[in-house]
């Protein structure tokens, strides 16, 4: 459909037809004081060449040519060009969530393939059509566990992404919880893993679920099997969060979990300015009726041909109203399609090689940067992130790095004041050896005056 503005003659004809003398008549119902009497004051229109210049100038503000060691929930990975070629097809790019679902077989098939690949990667039986992002998938999984168990206690590891925990608290503000406490947090031990003894002491017969992340916020891989045992012993579910999807190429999938939530941004979604991203919820089949969001199933039509349908819609808000399992009635279809294309391009072996490449880069970075600072939690298995402790304050260190066009690690003290100057570093397949060596050079050259002891 093309966008053509109406002519004055057409406007006059329409007004005449409905018996209004002016467009203002249509707003008569709105009290005078709430109507905007002045001009909107938006900038004047631009010529095409001006628009191109405008966006070129804006693009020049990007940190092009900088090395980035940022991770912490958002990861820089190569995006195969095929992704944009496919998602820019009009059939995908312009369509809204399929409410009249079965008429859009192509969209449903793409979602079905997304679900299937997510199941294979996470080791779960079922996956939904995607959620907004990892941070909103976390509370949805927690609420799912509450419905399954009929309990409302939640135990969360402090090594779960701090922002995921914040989003959980936002969700929880408007829920009545009989224990009065939404989530009890359990700390970590010297190796950066969740404190299993504290966890064991905290999980009770009132606990709906235990939520952990692996690789956790420090990049450390948790002992999911041991955590599952603690949760299951008390009849609680285990929810495992995965913020770095590429880790699944080499890290054993959390098959002991009951529900897996994931941020699939790493699969072909540009870091952009914080979104849109792509959340995932996958679970054991027996929990399918408590799963939030849309679910695509495969079936055969009256002629025996393969087709796709939205299944279990009766749980959803547009049918079950306030008793729906969740108020999410849509999904992140276009971004999930990016992830689907990414998974298809790389394939099983490709994702494994990619993960190994990340591991090697991060390992080299940790070894190179480590001696000039101190590698924290170094004894634990990790993926593509690590925590570096320095004498120099992170603000000072990162300012010196920035002068060399290097974006350093994320300062952790905002969430973990006990870690002092520690920074969280990430290296992916896009991080070059030269960049790592350059960063190590800057870290090593800390001026004595900058050391904040």
């Amino acid at each position: 459909m093309r966008y053509l503005p109406k002519s004055d003659a057409e406007r006059a004809a329409m007004l005449r037809d409905i018996g209004a003398s002016s467009i203002d008549d249509l707003f008569a119902i709105i009290p005078e004081e709430y109507r905007l009497a002045r001009d909107l004051e938006i900038p004047r229109q631009m010529g095409e060449s001006e628009i191109v210049d405008h966006f070129k100038a804006a693009a020049a503000k990007n940190a092009n040519g900088y090395a980035s060691f940022l991770g912490a929930g958002v990861y820089r990975h190569y995006r195969p060009v095929l992704i944009d070629t496919i998602v820019q097809r009009g059939e995908f790019l312009t369509s809204y969530t399929p409410y009249q679902a079965e008429i859009t077989q192509g969209t449903l098939q793409a979602i079905f393939e997304f679900q299937t690949m997510i199941c294979e990667l996470t080791g779960m039986d079922i996956a939904n059509a995607s959620m907004y992002d990892g941070s909103t998938a976390a509370p949805e999984a927690v609420m799912m566990a509450m419905r399954v168990t009929g309990r409302d206690g939640v135990v969360v590891a402090r090594t779960v992404h701090p922002e995921y925990r914040e989003v959980m608290h936002t969700y929880a503000q408007h829920r009545e919880v009989s224990s009065g406490q939404v989530a009890v947090e359990v700390g970590y031990v010297e190796n950066g893993r969740v404190d299993l003894a504290a966890l064991e002491a905290t999980v009770t017969n009132e606990t709906a679920c235990v939520l952990v992340q692996s690789p956790n916020f420090f990049g450390v891989i948790e002992d999911v099997a041991a955590i599952a045992e603690i949760a299951h012993k008390k009849g609680a579910l285990l929810v495992v969060a995965i913020a770095e999807a590429v880790s699944l190429g080499i890290v054993k999938p959390p098959v002991e979990a009951d529900v897996v939530i994931m941020e699939a941004q790493s699969f072909g979604v540009a870091p952009s300015f914080g979104g849109p991203f792509c959340g995932v919820i996958a679970a054991k089949e027996k929990y399918v009726r408590q799963m939030p969001g849309r679910l695509v199933g495969q079936t055969t039509d009256t002629k025996g041909r393969r087709g796709f349908v939205l299944t279990l819609s009766t749980r959803e808000q547009h049918i079950r109203r306030e008793k729906a399992t969740s108020n999410i009635c849509t999904n992140q279809a276009l971004v999930a399609l990016m992830a689907t294309v990414f998974m298809t391009v790389y394939g099983k072996e490709g994702i494994k090689e990619l993960a190994l490449h990340n591991l090697a880069k991060a390992d080299y970075a940790a070894k190179t940067l480590g001696p000039d600072g101190k590698l924290l939690f170094g004894s634990s298995p990790r993926f593509n992130e690590f925590v570096l402790q320095t004498d120099e304050a992170p603000e000072a260190l990162n300012a010196r790095l920035l002068e060399q066009k290097i974006i350093g690690g994320v300062a952790l003290k905002r969430w973990y004041p006990e870690l002092g100057n520690a920074t969280l570093w990430c290296a992916t397949e896009l991080t070059s050896r030269e960049q790592i060596d350059a960063a190590a050079g800057v870290v090593a050259s800390a001026p004595a005056s900058a050391v904040a002891r």
Binding site: G150, R289, R320, K323
Partner: protein, 129 residues
């Protein structure tokens, strides 16, 4: 299908068959007919406390999910596990495909429920024929 006269009924379309303090609960033929093909029954757990007028489970049909309301207050003593694999038994014979058995806290609560004749009139009014 006739409504057994020894059962009592709720306006939310459950039936209850009482014998002393023990009672069996299910949904009415009118309810199964309105819902259509039932594909899933969410059962309570044995030992759960149910409260008169409060939700204790749900039935899901191809059209909708409907909550189940307890006709009386009590404790669940048994659930019909058969419905997990064969929820269609409710469509086949709603008045024998029971959902749960409860021990009543106060058998006198039953007196306020509808009789078979009252329920039949009520169900007819609701459907408008």
């Amino acid at each position: 299908m006739a409504y057994p006269t020894n059962y009592r009924y709720t306006r939310e379309h459950e039936w209850i068959d009482v014998s002393g303090k023990a009672a069996t609960v299910g949904i009415t033929d009118h309810a199964q007919d309105s819902l259509g093909d039932i594909v899933f029954v969410e059962l309570p757990k044995v030992g759960d406390k149910v409260e008169k007028g409060k939700v204790f489970g749900s039935v899901e049909s191809v059209k909708a999910v409907s909550d189940l309301y307890a006709p009386a207050t009590g404790t669940v003593t048994a659930i019909n596990e058969e419905l997990t694999a064969a929820p269609e038994k409710i469509n086949a014979d709603a008045h024998s495909a029971w959902i749960m058995k409860i021990e009543l806290s106060d058998p006198k609560e039953i007196d306020s429920l509808l009789t078979a004749a009252d329920y039949e009139t009520y169900a007819k009014e609701e459907t408008g024929h």
